[in-house]
């Protein structure tokens, strides 16, 4: 196993200095997701205004991979159009299912390309997906109440 494929510098940086962490107001929807096999948890809030992701705020307990995934997700999706955010979400999920066989799209994923290595470790894919799945869920709920 090449550990450095998994624990790339980018990932460790985001883990040590997570972006956007902490629960903030206002928000349109809050969700709580759990990884039942390891017990990791995330609480995540999404604030949508007129189809724009105004804020994503989150807190929880998790390993370096899930923490870094949340931080990178915040960087990529906060401030984006919801449709773009969901598209990036989809591309990220696809990357995580690729078992290291997909060339990641740096334009779309930014620092997220560092996760290409994670996709080779099936046991860790769920860690990386935890915040992204929570976002998808929260965004759908927030969209339902986004009035504009």
């Amino acid at each position: 196993m090449q550990l450095d494929q998994l624990y790339q510098e980018i990932i460790l940086d985001h883990y040590r200095r997570p972006k956007g962490k902490g629960l903030r107001e206002p928000y349109g929807a809050e969700v709580h997701h759990v990884n039942p096999t390891c017990g990791d948890e995330i609480t995540l809030r999404v604030w949508l205004v007129g189809g724009v992701v105004k804020d994503i705020s989150y807190d929880g307990a998790g390993c370096s991979i899930s923490q870094a995934a949340a931080s990178i997700m915040y960087e990529l999706l906060a401030g984006a159009q919801l449709s773009t955010a969901l598209q990036i979400n989809e591309v990220f999920v696809e990357l995580m299912g690729s078992r290291g066989k997909l060339e990641p799209d740096e334009d779309l994923l930014g620092d997220g390309v560092a996760f290409a290595g994670v996709s080779k470790y099936p046991a860790r894919v769920k860690c990386a997906l935890l915040p992204w799945m929570a976002f998808k869920d929260a965004a759908a709920r927030a969209a339902a109440s986004d009035e504009e």
Binding site: V34, P36, Y121
Partner: protein, 429 residues
């Protein structure tokens, strides 16, 4: 009787085939003798023999990849988890399940049926699983005990009424009262797909249609059919099927429940424990989605992987070829058995709408004695009530002798059976 097929229908030569001698070479047990005679194994409806490929799958797993699943980040655990989930996907594919998540690993068919029966209760939040006095459960008179007792127990627990289809003299389901039997009060209909005693393969579409018409669920006990014919749960349009590893070249200790995903996720958990939870506090537990919800504790890991290998083996032969092989054997055996004086076959007498499982009596000679004499010649048949006492009662006998075939069975083995029966007649005639 010989099997003639009208022109224009597929002929035998068009049928997919495999080389039975090559198949036999894969089964180490055929290298042994029984009572000094070559083994003639005619008890596959009871349990099948195992090819080396399946035995090796077990041995290799334990020797090189053994670990618990779904719980580890370590390499062995990841290997074991991937092999386990790959097996689930293979098996889903084998029965035409739309998603691997619709396959629940259990210990045998019996557990699968009990799991569904225990999902019904007066407290159910989902109307489809709410049951009480006045509600009805429908089975048939040709069921294996494993598709009778769980429903009797459910009826007793909840005050619901158990009802059943009768069986005709030809050994077929009597559907004459279908519309009355399956009615607005019916919650579930659970029917054997292929009878383990009469060999009958039941045509299910009329029953399924009627069940769904009245809003009842439809389950097939496919313990004897999944090993022997191509199964497609979507084409059959049923809600649940149960089948069991050891009858389809796989190991003991594993069976499967297939259920429509939406239904499985509407069912309450059955066994509680590790791996079926989402989160646990001392006060309250929330449950994982299916299939995990129904797989409490350490599952039959090696068994699932080996069942995957068995499914590979069958897929390689081709289930159409398996079906034709057994149809030919059945036609041959029916022809041969009627030549034995005093022999009476229970169940369909023609090789149509039936599988390669033939039960019979030989005059007044008790099946125990028949089986014992045959055993002396190496011929292994099952004798007794075959866990289907009501079917025996329907035909007025306490026990029958049964010969059953599988991919490795040859016509020579059927000849050995017939020779053995002559000997039985001599000893007890």
């Amino acid at each position: 009787m010989t099997l003639t097929i009208p022109a224009g229908m597929p002929q035998y030569d068009d049928a997919p085939r495999f080389d039975v001698e090559k198949v036999r070479a894969d089964f180490p047990i055929f290298g042994r003798a029984v009572n000094g005679q070559p083994l003639v194994y005619l008890d596959s409806a009871n349990t099948s023999q195992k090819p080396q490929q399946v035995i090796d799958a077990l041995a290799v797993h334990y020797a090189l990849h053994n670990a618990n699943v779904s719980r580890s980040v370590h390499t062995l655990g990841t290997e074991a988890t991937e092999a386990y989930e790959d097996a689930r996907a293979k098996i889903a594919n084998f029965v035409g399940a739309p998603s691997p998540d619709e396959i629940v690993f259990v210990k045998n068919s019996s557990e699968a049926i009990n799991l569904v029966a225990y999902a019904f209760s007066p407290r159910s939040e989902d109307d489809r699983f709410r049951i009480g006095p006045g509600d009805e459960i429908v089975i048939s008179e040709m069921e294996h005990h494993s598709n009778i007792v769980p429903w009797q127990m459910l009826a007793e627990r909840t005050g619901a009424t158990l009802r059943w289809f009768g069986v005709t003299d030809q050994g077929r389901l009597d559907l004459s009262n279908l519309d009355e039997l399956v009615n607005e009060r019916t919650k579930i209909v659970s029917i054997v797909h292929m009878s383990n005693i009469l060999g009958t393969v039941n045509a299910t579409s009329r029953i399924t249609k009627r069940a769904h018409e009245v809003g009842a669920l439809m389950m097939l006990d496919a313990s004897q059919s999944v090993p022997h014919l191509p199964m497609d749960v979507v084409a059959y349009d049923v809600d649940f099927i149960a089948f069991t590893g050891h009858k389809m070249l796989g190991p003991t200790g594993i069976g499967c429940l297939w259920g429509r995903g939406e239904l499985l996720n509407a069912m309450p958990p059955f066994l509680g424990g590790g791996s079926m939870i989402e989160t646990v506090t001392m006060e309250k537990t929330t449950y994982a989605a299916a299939p995990a919800r129904f797989e409490a504790g350490t599952p039959p890991i090696a068994e699932a992987i080996a069942l995957g290998a068995a499914v590979d083996y069958l897929t390689n032969l081709g289930m159409d070829a398996v079906l034709w092989h057994e149809k030919e054997l059945t036609a041959y055996a029916l022809d041969a058995l009627v030549t034995v004086p005093g022999l009476k076959i229970y169940g369909p007498q023609i090789p149509v709408g039936r599988g390669g499982t033939i039960s019979f009596s030989l005059g007044d000679i008790h099946p125990h004695d028949v089986g014992q004499i045959l055993d002396a010649d190496g011929v292994q048949v099952r004798v007794g009530h075959h866990c289907a006492k009501p079917t025996c009662a329907r035909f007025g006998v306490p026990a029958m002798t049964r010969a059953s075939f599988y991919v490795y069975t040859t016509t020579e083995e059927i000849d050995a059976l017939v020779r053995g029966l002559e000997k039985v007649r001599k000893v007890f005639g």
